[in-house]
């Protein structure tokens, strides 16, 4: 009786795990299968044949390598700029007492709640005014604007968790605020920095709406827009094969990044939960 109960429990658990795996992995499986398989719209669950034609065509028929470089440049610049600003801003918000601090923090949070569409036209005017239209600078600027509130908010929370004594010990040791940030806080906050940096990177890497609005020429496009522009032989054909091949190519760097920093991300997301 008991062993029967145990058996059923194990079977049900295995089924649940299987269902979850199917549910999460299936879309990726289809993407990869399609990228190696036929280039037509009929989805096959197993590729009929296996070749790299789709991959080659992606790089041949458009400046896709250039697009990847653009995306990388924009994403890394966004991460670097927003981390620099977020670290210094959160130091002020977490450590320096000034009037209206809470108000400012709430405003930062409020700003991050606007949908992208709401600021699109305003942002477009701003980009035009700054002469950044159709350049990567426009994307770096707008992505930084959107990743900052989130980064500031997270880093402020982490920064508050650093004992005040630690900062005061550094002050007594003769450190300037900049030295405190770079030599004490940043090493201590390293997991949090990796986490926020990675999230900002993914956001910038995958962003579509600003990228399609602010960039005009094919050479300056970032990856998501470039993928959407891949066209078939006729206007009625959706070239699933090359689209999927392109998607797989641009997902690989993200997966690599996440795997490299995986341990740090988990540390960052759970740090401070338990006193270490």
């Amino acid at each position: 009786m008991n062993t029967f109960k145990l058996r059923t429990g194990q079977v049900l658990f295995a089924l649940a795990v299987l269902a979850l795996l199917l549910y999460t992995i299936f879309p990726f499986y289809i993407a990869i299968a399609t990228s190696f398989g036929a280039g037509t719209g009929d989805h096959v669950y197993t590729p009929a044949y296996f070749d790299l034609r789709n991959y080659l065509s992606v790089f041949k028929e458009q400046p896709f390598f250039h697009n990847i470089l653009n995306s990388a440049l924009v994403s890394f610049a966004t991460v670097a700029i927003s981390l620099l600003i977020a670290v210094t801003a959160s130091y002020a918000l977490a450590r320096v007492h000034f009037r209206g601090r809470t108000m400012l923090l709430l405003t930062v949070l409020g700003v991050s709640m606007f949908p992208q569409v709401a600021v699109l036209s305003g942002m477009f005017e701003l980009i035009r005014m700054l002469g950044l239209y159709n350049s990567l600078g426009s994307l770096i600027l707008s992505y930084t604007v959107f990743s900052l509130p989130f980064s500031v908010w997270i880093l402020t929370t982490f920064m508050r968790g650093i004992p005040k004594d630690l900062e005061e010990a550094a002050i007594v040791d003769g450190a300037t605020p900049w030295q405190i940030i770079t030599r004490i806080f940043m090493p201590v906050l390293w997991p949090a920095l990796v986490t926020t940096g990675l999230l900002a990177f993914i956001g910038a890497w995958n962003e579509f709406m600003f990228a399609i609005t602010f960039i005009l020429s094919n050479e300056n496009r970032t990856v998501p827009v470039a993928i959407s522009m891949i066209s078939g032989d006729s206007q009625y054909e959706l070239p699933w094969g090359p689209v999927m091949a392109a998607s797989v190519v641009v997902t690989v760097p993200l997966i690599a990044l996440v795997l490299i920093f995986q341990r740090k991300i988990v540390e960052g997301l759970t740090a401070g939960a338990v006193k270490g």
Partner: protein
């Protein structure tokens, strides 16, 4: 090395209710002295220490290190070393880097840094720990590293903010002795904040008792114990606490205030009106003494501490039980009646404001 002088030092925390943490403190600390600030939580002792460190702004008054006014100087310009209650070691640095951090900010040569760090590590017997991270150290070891970090820059003044309160009792005693030895060797002016009166009594050249932002008394440990300046100091220092009995004084005659039966008692003080008689538990005798006040009591609680026995006695002279400390073991039954004797030369008298009244006779308490 430096002497320190406070002149009417004030600290007000600006805010809704402008909390006045330090109120007009005057104090002078001699070069090389080991001074302990002691008082209950919230008395301003830590604030005062942080003002010396430069971590808190000074709202009013002046502070001098030697002849140099330091009010507006940054902590590093004051030449201080500080040990924090939480140790505050940099978690991502090795012990060596923790101690070298201050020196490296001063752009000392790496050879110079190495020499100093190793010398201090040898003094504190932490050489074998130099490559470890703080999380791999025990509480006592972390405390040593924190002290080492403070010493290594050879500051003019050492500041200790309740450094031993996170350690267990036996380690606390051991570290206490080591800090005293260290001070005897380095002879650096040291200021030590604690709420533990045993630390205050054992370590200090000079104790500063604080309450509610004011200095209650400054003196050597034995001064504070033998002639407390007021009822606060008398009650705060000494364990168990001093017994207080409300009395009415008429010249050198005292009568218990709460007692139905007036009982007079000759003491070496001169005062008129309401007063408080204070006597320490260890000065009350169970055997008759010449000239001592005899009180009839009933035992309510007995505490056996091994080396001494504490008796809590109900009397008719006070609502509070009278505490008597008797050396050694003493078997007593609850409810047992006995007489105790208060030797007049051990009594303290405080006026209605709580300030001590000067003793007339030349006899000193023993």
């Amino acid at each position: 090395m430096s002497s320190i002088e406070f002149v009417k030092l004030d600290k007000v925390y600006k805010g809704l209710n402008n909390f006045h943490a330090v109120k007009g403190v005057d104090l002078s600390i001699k070069d090389g002295e080991f001074v302990v600030f002691v008082g209950p939580s919230g008395c301003g002792k830590s604030t005062l220490l942080r003002m010396i460190a430069g971590l808190e702004d000074i709202s009013g008054g002046d502070m001098y290190f030697g002849s140099r006014r330091v009010n507006t100087l940054a902590p590093k310009e004051r030449g201080i070393g500080m040990v924090f209650q939480s140790y505050a070691l940099y978690p991502h640095m090795s012990v060596y880097d923790n101690m070298a951090f201050g020196l490296s900010l001063e752009k000392a040569s790496s050879q110079n840094i190495d020499e100093k760090v190793r010398e201090v590590a040898a003094t504190l017997q932490i050489e074998h720990l130099l490559e470890r991270k703080p999380k791999e150290l025990s509480g006592g070891q972390r405390q040593r590293v924190a002290i080492g970090r403070a010493i290594v820059r050879q500051p003019n003044v050492f500041l200790f903010d309740e450094p031993l309160s996170n350690l267990d009792a036996s380690l606390r005693v051991q570290m206490r002795i080591e800090i005293i030895k260290l001070h005897q060797r380095l002879k650096t002016t040291s200021i030590y904040v604690t709420h533990d009166q045993v630390e205050a009594m054992t370590m200090a050249d000079k104790i500063v008792v604080l309450s509610q932002g004011r200095i209650m008394q400054v003196g050597s440990p034995l001064d504070i114990y033998n002639s407390p300046a007021n009822t606060f100091v008398a009650g705060f220092m000494g364990s168990p606490n001093m017994n207080f009995i409300q009395v009415t004084a008429n010249g050198s005659q005292l009568a218990a205030a709460t007692c139905d039966v007036p009982r007079s008692f000759e003491v070496p003080f001169q005062h008129q009106g309401a007063a408080t008689l204070g006597i320490r538990p260890e000065h009350i005798e169970l055997t008759p003494q010449p000239g001592a006040l005899q009180l009839e009591c009933q035992v309510s609680v007995v505490e056996h501490l091994g080396n001494e026995t504490l008796l809590y006695l109900n009397t008719d002279v006070s609502d509070q039980p009278l505490v008597v400390a008797v050396a050694g073991e003493k078997s007593m039954q609850i409810g047992e009646k006995l007489s105790v004797y208060l030797p007049p030369q051990c009594c303290h008298l405080f006026d209605a404001n709580g300030d001590a009244i000067a003793r007339l006779a030349t006899t000193k308490p023993n």
